[in-house]
Symmetry: C2
Subunit: 422 residues, 2 copies
């Protein structure tokens, strides 16, 4: 494929005109598609409908009536199910409500108001700073931003956050209190943290005694092409004597139903004890019937794994069409680069610098909604204006094919226009 630096000025003008014609043609199709959020399709949700009819009794295995008050940290069979699935001891797991984001928010709130394991409440400090591997998950960034925490972007490498940068920053600045991580099939790039990255995160010395890694394993069992598993974060953290550093989150939002699933937090013994102390004031406990539904529906961790293979069958053709269209329409031209994730929910595309906002605007004008350009960076500020997150889960394969043709056209049109600008 012809590379952008091989075009003459004249050829670029010609290409621009050609792309503009194609774009006008697309606009006439009046598309109406949303690829902005990592939202499961109705077809995917249908695969979990059985969970709504599975409750025939209400007693937990230890004889608690799941319909009544009682049990703060999750019914034992639900803890065991996720313990088996994630290979975390059940004593280190608390089953929460319907949203892991909410558990993360609550965790940050507690750090702000109460500190962690005896440290000064962060709201009493003159300033708190936070590392944000970027591109990353916009809703993580919203949480830290809303609490007035200064966010410091850290570049991503194909092995995870750039640990050279991370180590240098955390070693000297005690106001840096933690970092966001989506370690497996990262949002949006689909990067899986390497064993070395995890070793370095767990072993690095931090100026802040209460430095915390918010380990959002959102896609922990969400393989699409391959089954990738991370180095065990708790075992590694323990080895390096930093086991209190890890706050681990997971949910079934993209296993059963977003909003009607089950979320969990896992942490060291001391952290779990502290969280339970606060939770016992915060709530009467979470929805045990929904926990029981999940246990009865899946039975075992293998039940969940089999279910995820079914979901992957639906998602694979969607990822295929995105990746194949990018390859066919953009290829090695240089108009954009991207990664090929092996799982998760997103594909991340980097346009030419200064072209992401324009690409998203062009697509929107032609009826395809993408995640806002910049959203993958703290404060919505992508310094190169180049990163765009594609969420292929919701549309059908046919819709995606159309949307991706348009998307690639917009990438090139924005690119060529940018190149021609004086």
């Amino acid at each position: 494929m012809k590379k952008i630096d091989e075009y003459t000025e004249e050829e670029l003008v010609y290409l621009q005109n050609k792309l503009l014609k194609e774009y006008a043609h697309f606009k006439n199709k009046h598309l109406h598609l949303d690829m902005s959020r990592g939202k499961p399709s109705s077809q995917q949700l249908d695969r979990s409908n059985g969970i709504l009819r599975v409750l025939d009794s209400y007693e937990t295995e230890d004889g608690i009536d799941a319909r009544n008050y009682g049990v703060l940290d999750g019914i034992p069979e639900a803890k065991r199910l996720f313990s088996d699935l994630l290979r975390i001891p059940d004593a280190n797991i608390i089953i929460g409500g319907n949203s892991s984001l909410n558990l993360m928010y609550d965790t940050m709130t507690r750090f702000m108001l109460f500190g962690s394991l005896g440290s000064t409440p962060w709201c009493k400090l003159p300033k708190v700073k936070w590392l944000c591997p970027s591109p990353g998950y916009d809703r993580h960034f919203s949480v830290t931003e809303s609490m007035g925490i200064e966010m410091i972007p850290v570049p991503m490498t194909e092995d995870g956050p750039d640990m050279e940068v991370v180590e240098k920053l955390v070693a000297k600045d005690e106001l840096i209190k933690g970092m966001w991580c989506v370690p497996l099939y990262s949002n949006p790039q689909g990067i899986c943290y390497s064993a070395e990255t995890i070793d370095r995160m767990c072993s690095m010395e931090t100026a802040a005694e209460d430095f915390r890694i918010m380990w959002d394993n959102a896609y922990g069992v969400h393989d699409i092409y391959e089954k990738i598993r991370l180095k065990d974060i708790f075992v590694t953290a323990k080895k390096f004597h930093h086991k209190d550093r890890i706050m681990y989150f997971f949910s079934t939002s993209k296993i059963t139903f977003p909003g009607a699933g089950v979320a969990l937090i896992a942490a060291s013994k001391r952290n779990i004890a502290e969280i339970k102390k606060h939770m016992s004031v915060q709530t009467i406990g979470y929805d045990k019937l929904n926990q029981l539904r999940h246990v009865k529906y899946f039975g075992t961790a293998d039940g969940i794994r089999a279910h995820m293979q079914e979901l992957a069958k639906d998602l694979r053709p969607k990822f295929d069409v995105v990746l194949k269209t990018l390859e066919r329409e953009i290829g090695d031209s240089g108009f954009a680069t991207w990664m090929e994730p092996k799982g998760g929910y997103f594909i991340s595309v980097d346009t030419l610098p200064g072209c992401a906002k324009e690409t998203v605007a062009l697509a929107k004008e032609a009826g395809v909604i993408l995640t806002a350009a910049g959203a993958t960076y703290p404060y919505g500020n992508d310094p190169h204006d180049s990163n765009i997150r594609i969420a292929p889960s919701y549309p059908t394969v046919e819709e995606l094919a159309q949307a991706m043709n348009l998307f690639c056209l917009c990438v090139k049109l924005a690119g060529v226009t940018n190149l021609l600008e004086i």
Copy 2:
């Protein structure tokens, strides 16, 4: 009935011996009963089992798939259901998760971290104080205590909190930021706030601009003997130009299932906008399928009202046996006084001063668990050591009859022992 001040010393000794014999007899029965929490009985929960089988479709009335992401503040039909039930405009309602306590905790957390409608975040103030009408709900007090808020007890009258005391305190101290209220069938006394009390709460001038009334209408439709309705809090607050003062909470914990019900917060337009802003960062939204279950099961507000009448039929004989046993065993002797609630979940008994702890301890030794003495006061500190909360909802009528015989015996035994002490 013979009154305590009519007893001679000799008669008291005789009575004590008689009671000790009866107590020994009770201990041989090896009772094992729990009247500590306002927990529905299994029989009551059975009346809502149908709600678990009611979901046959997943679409909300505005075409949202309730199984998927989307909708922060509640599906429209759920808002309307509770709007009709509580006579609050649906625009002023946010449907939350499964626990109104959690909504209150979140609300307090927001005040601490962000302030309210532009005020200074409370965590930035040197001190925050809070009014706690007492006896009151122990879990309210735990929330304020956990946040380091200084709690000031305010006496209860039969019309609600003593407004003379409240008005004087809030007028001069700008660090007093709010108060807890359970306005209908208060926990534990079953007191219903009078129209005058509500008028004064809504009209009083407060030194703190961001003074907030946490209006926990936990028993808003939980009539047992009579149907009592409060003066409309929002209309009243609006009339006196203090509509931002009210944060209103409600849940179906004691309508359907504790822990698997639906909770809500209602507030002024400005407050709702601010809460939504924070919630949009905090969570992906609450469980819409459970909201839909409640709508489909009850249909209308009248459906809920009819259901509550059924529940009242179960609860009435339980309240009857508690009140009748108190009347028969203690009557006007002076060993204790109590109120006769018309609804709610509790009966509050005041023993002779200095006798509540001993009464609870005696009951426990004989196998009946009561709410810890003092729990109904801030910091667990009942200055007179006299208030005991009785929760009759969980045991059967037969069990209650036994437990109440024991309870009255313990009240008298603790009383007479106290009177004989030198």
